[in-house]
């Protein structure tokens, strides 16, 4: 058990990919800020575009910075497992509030 086996020391360096991802993230941040100023007709579209760009950035960080790209399948599976829960939670509760506001007369 003395020497470490190959699984730990990755032979080739990923530095190049990391630098590229960082550059891409900076570009996307600038894009988000610029896009937020424009109006794409309707609040829902603006918000979904902003979230789309944010999700791309998040995916980049997860895949390259957090090594999900070279991770074993089990860990990738569990990492992806939390995403449907987030979508389920947000969409169901907002959907119910939207349905409900029509039926009830809110005091505000």
């Amino acid at each position: 058990m003395a020497h470490s086996d190959s699984s730990q020391a990755h032979s080739q360096s990923h530095l190049k990919e990391l630098a590229l991802t960082f550059a891409a993230l900076i570009v996307l941040t600038i894009v988000t800020v610029k896009v937020a100023k424009l109006d794409f007709g309707g609040v829902a579209i603006n918000i979904s575009i902003a979230l789309l760009i944010a999700s791309i950035k998040a995916a980049l960080v997860a895949l390259y910075f957090m090594h999900l790209k070279w991770e074993e399948k089990l860990i990738v599976g569990f990492a992806a497992l939390s995403v449907p829960f987030v979508i389920l939670m947000v969409s169901t509760m907002v959907w119910d509030v939207s349905q409900k506001t029509a039926e009830l007369i809110y005091a505000k």
């Binding site: 389920l88 169901t92 509030v97 409900k100």
Partner: protein, 555 residues
């Protein structure tokens, strides 16, 4: 058959050190052995169960007669809040997962310990810290007395009362954090530390149940953490999300609360199902029927449990289209549960059933849980839930599923595994007697509550109209029977684990890994990790009647 070398040098190691030999409180509190931590969880849980049960008896004594029997309204409200909080957060959520799951799951998959032993000890310490905070909330020297909001802490009432809601919610948050860490530990252990040859289809069903419970624990509990923090933030900052005066909507607290609290109901019941799937084959000397179906329905229940929470809100201004959707999803979760019950009953078919106490409790589990499940059907239909919601029908339903399910199954696990943990057999006649006290007392307490509920007797009522007087009287008598039954059952186990007759390492002639090692179990479980070659439920294989069948009338 697992090729375990212990039997060869068993005689030589008779006085060998087992996990109970090291004495001294500090050796227990600082130990990272999964068996010791599991036992600590078990004993803390049982103490919490007796305290919670005492509150229940006080409630039932007050409700014996209409009008004031011996306590006033405020104390009654405090009692049912503490009964709920202590039973759910302190006893039942870690009930079977953290106690028997900790002790036996690593052994059943052929591991020496869980993946992160230090984290395991830390989660017990966080659990005890949570209990201390709850006890502090109980006494609440800061003024205002213990909380009287019910275990659900619904806003805006939990905002308005100056009682110790914050301490109780922070205590529940800590215990939730401890259950996240336990769940995380178990998922990694089951994935990564199975013995060679222990494929997923050779794992005992108890391990499948613990696996799906840990998944829910990891993914659902953070939600209650943040909900309780939002509640505390709301109380301090005075403006915010659940406050109706400023456009906030108190029903959102119910959405967030039940998003966790319905999956937690499955955290409670899944390990109980796991225990029963272990006990039924052993005592009917027959392989479990439909292993794959039970394993897959455990996972299915874990998955579906996340999308049904709003059936608790049918009547609290939930939009009608949401009610229709969630009623449909709730009926989806009934299907895997029904499959399990059918598989258990078919396991009995053609067996040679040994009616020992663990088997009696396991059969009582199937009987009572089937009633709990079936009374869930009317509650899932919005039209009927409108008249049944927040009445005693709901109280009886969830007592049949939680108490008839988890606690009866915990009793079955106690009687099934305590001989393994202590190496001493319990008193059989005394066990059976206390079982009948529990079974009759249970039904006597909760059947009248069904009948009251359908007539509209509301829940959490300190005083009631005289037309319900008879039901409450019978229910209270049943509650006392139930109390004596549980107390004597636990007493029997505790006394016998010190004074009972030694019963060797496999009194039930069971086939899962934990019965292959000495009892009480050695410090590191196995001398060397066994390689598994076959399915753990090979009872009554053709022509080998004696090999796996119980020795004559397994004493």
């Amino acid at each position: 058959m697992a090729s375990v070398a212990t039997t060869a040098d068993h005689a030589h190691h008779d006085h060998h050190e087992n996990f109970l030999s090291k004495k001294g409180l500090m050796s227990w509190l600082t130990s990272v052995d999964h068996k010791r931590i599991g036992l600590l969880y078990l004993y803390t849980g049982l103490v919490a169960f007796l305290v919670g049960g005492a509150f229940a008896l006080l409630l039932r004594t007050e409700l014996m007669f209409p009008g004031k029997t011996f306590i006033d309204e405020k104390t009654y409200n405090v009692f049912f809040t503490l009964h709920g909080t202590i039973m759910i957060f302190v006893f039942i959520v870690p009930g079977i997962v953290a106690s028997f799951g900790n002790i036996f799951m690593p052994i059943m998959i052929g591991a020496r310990d869980v993946a992160f032993p230090v984290l395991n000890r830390f989660s017990y310490q966080v659990y005890v810290a949570g209990i201390l905070v709850v006890l502090f909330g109980l006494v609440n020297p800061l003024g205002g007395g213990p909380a009287d909001t019910g275990w659900t802490f619904y806003t805006p009432y939990s905002m308005k009362t100056n009682t110790s809601v914050i301490t109780l919610t922070f205590g529940a948050f800590l215990m939730g954090f401890s259950s996240i860490l336990t769940g995380l530990n178990f998922v990694v252990t089951i994935h990564k530390m199975r013995a060679p040859g222990m494929t997923w289809t050779r794992m005992p069903l108890f391990v499948w149940a613990i696996y799906s419970t840990s998944l829910i624990q990891v993914l659902a509990t953070p939600v209650i953490g943040i909900t309780l923090l939002l509640l505390i933030a709301e109380k301090f900052f005075g403006i915010g999300f659940f406050d109706p005066a400023l456009g906030g909507d108190p029903v959102l607290f119910q959405h967030f609360f039940w998003f966790y609290s319905h999956p937690v109901v499955y955290i409670m019941i899944l390990p109980a199902m796991g225990v029963v799937s272990e006990i039924l084959p052993v005592f009917s000397r027959k392989p479990i029927f439909g292993y794959k179906a039970i394993a897959w329905s455990s996972l299915a229940i874990a998955g579906v449990s996340f999308i049904v929470w709003a059936h608790h809100l049918f009547v609290s201004t939930l939009s009608s289209s949401a009610a229709v959707l969630f009623s449909f999803l709730t009926y989806l979760v009934a299907i895997p549960t029904a499959i399990k019950v059918f598989n258990w009953i078919t396991t009995l078919y053609g067996g040679q059933i040994d009616l020992k106490t663990p088997m009696l409790y396991a059969l009582a589990f199937v009987f009572l849980f089937a009633i709990g499940g079936l009374t869930g059907l009317p509650l899932a239909a919005p039209a009927v839930d409108v008249s049944y919601h927040d009445t005693y029908f709901v109280v009886a339903h969830f007592h049949y599923t939680i108490q008839g399910g988890t606690i009866i199954s915990l009793m079955a696990a106690l009687y099934y595994w305590m001989p393994k943990i202590s190496g001493r057999m319990y008193n059989e006649r005394f066990g059976k007697m206390s079982f009948w006290f529990v079974f009759i007392g249970f039904n006597l307490t909760f059947i009248p509550q069904f009948l009251m509920g359908t007539q509209g007797m509301p829940r959490r009522y300190y005083d009631y109209e005289p037309m319900y007087a008879n039901y409450h009287m019978i229910s209270t008598i049943g509650a006392y029977l139930l109390g004596t039954g549980y107390f004597t059952a636990i007493l029997n186990i505790l006394i016998s684990s010190f004074k009972g007759k030694p019963c060797g390492s496999n009194p039930w002639n069971a086939n899962t890994l934990e019965w292959k090692i000495a009892s009480p179990m050695p410090e590191h479980n196995f001398h060397e990790i066994p390689t598994i070659t076959e399915w753990p439920y090979e009872y009554g294989r053709d022509g080998e009647a004696s090999k796996y069948s119980a020795t004559k009338g397994a004493h």
